[in-house]
Symmetry: C2
Subunit: 273 residues, 2 copies
């Protein structure tokens, strides 16, 4: 779309590198965005926006001729697509999964934040390149994207209710890697409908399997999957090896590795409290 326009301009320019003095005619060729053009002031890569350089060109005495005489689909989709680069991404929870997320986002040059009960040790924090946010409610309005990586506990059940979602930036994207019940189901559906949340995605529902009338099946701008993300072939081989290992230890009367306990001697493991 605008890319093709830029190429066209480039090709004209490179034929005659040095401009003769005086007024020039500049031709810009774009796709039409139609009714989508007005939805975002930065949607400049369309015939309606015309790269936003008309005033500048005309103020210099040049003529700017803009045309949509170009084959191809229109630019509807482009008015709400963004780069990840440069955006502020916050994780709620920075345990094993939250840390992996931060490490994998680092080369995308985002501004990374994390909220957790514990601050990482400074060396790890520096290597991961994320900033600690002690107060969740103070982190939320800073984030373009919020990723939930905290276990479901009595403290996190319903954590994202109507009030907390209202604290997020308008247009936030929320990715829930954790458990459906961390969200207030109807509050998420309402925020997606109003546009306060620009996108909600996750693999987890509450209840699960999701009933046919679950609001997240019908809300706009969701990218939900039916709890399938943990079932790769590689993960199945890990489950199988892990189950065999636990049974083997059990038959021999050996202890399990501490991270494998959910409940031990009647006590819930610390990460689930």
């Amino acid at each position: 779309m605008a890319g093709a326009a830029t190429s066209a301009i480039k090709s004209v320019l490179t034929r005659h590198l040095h401009a003769s003095p005086g007024s020039k005619k500049i031709v810009g060729v774009f796709y039409k965005a139609n009714e989508y053009a007005a939805l975002n002031p930065n949607f400049v890569g369309c015939v309606e926006g015309a790269l936003g350089i008309r005033d500048w060109l005309e103020s210099q005495g040049h003529q700017y001729i803009v045309t949509d005489d170009k084959e191809g689909p229109n630019s509807a989709i482009a008015h709400r697509a963004y780069d990840l680069e440069g955006k502020t991404v916050g994780t709620v929870g920075a345990g094993r999964i939250g840390k992996l997320l931060l490490q994998r986002l680092k080369p995308f040059n985002c501004n990374l934040l994390y909220h957790d009960r514990l601050k990482m040790d400074p060396e790890l924090e520096n290597q991961i390149g994320a900033k600690f946010e002690e107060d969740l409610d103070a982190m939320l309005p800073k984030c373009d994207i919020i990723v939930i990586n905290t276990p479901l506990t009595e403290k996190t059940r319903g954590l994202f209710d109507k009030d907390r979602i209202a604290k997020c930036k308008k247009g936030v994207l929320i990715v829930n890697n954790a458990r459906g019940a961390i969200m207030d189901t109807q509050a998420v559906a309402d925020a997606c409908s109003s546009g306060h949340v620009a996108g909600y995605s996750g693999d987890v529902w509450f209840p699960q399997p999701a009933p046919k009338d679950h609001p997240w099946r019908y809300m706009p701008n969701h990218a939900m999957t039916p709890h399938i993300s943990g079932t790769t072939i590689d993960a199945q081989l890990r489950y199988a090896a892990g189950t065999k290992d636990m049974l083997e230890r059990y038959f021999k009367g050996e202890e399990f590795p501490p991270q494998n306990y959910i409940v031990k001697e009647g006590k819930l493991a610390s990460q689930y409290q």
Copy 2:
């Protein structure tokens, strides 16, 4: 699916940590995979595969009771989903975009390979963590995933023809970030139909816009988009600023930055040769 089974086993085990001697009954609860169970020998996270531990349990004198008495959808999707971690990913072309890809894949713990005309300088290669493959045809059979990041030139036009695709590993995934004409259209469609290529994705077509009868619209296991990936709002603002900068330099009779030339004084820039 298998995750729930593992949890069930965990919960049983943690109630009585130490096994009494003698034969035990082990209960595994899984979803059914039905006709998909036979499609992959490593698809063990279903009632048919039952984690692949039956022989081992029975050889120790235990009983293994496997049931699908569990609510929820079946596991059809799981027989061909894989983790990126641990896979061999090769890029054809390691210029600006290929290098960014490699840098961003690094924390996913893949085995990274690159084919290019030039080997990177050793320090950069080490920082990126990718291994140089001088011979494209020698790299292809090693890759689980091939990503094409090379410009379209007279040398790369039709580079992935029937013979070259045949050199790829059976079940390879191909991602084309570059130009549609680097591929032989029909050879890609045939390889997706036969299953030799397990997935083909890209944003680029040849010709473009793709005619209604373009074979890639109808081949199985494609994830094609209609050339939209460069049109984020952030990219549009970059085009606009770049176009303004080039026009400004042109009006002033200044040179452009070298990377902005496609043709200069009748000569194609080196990256397009």
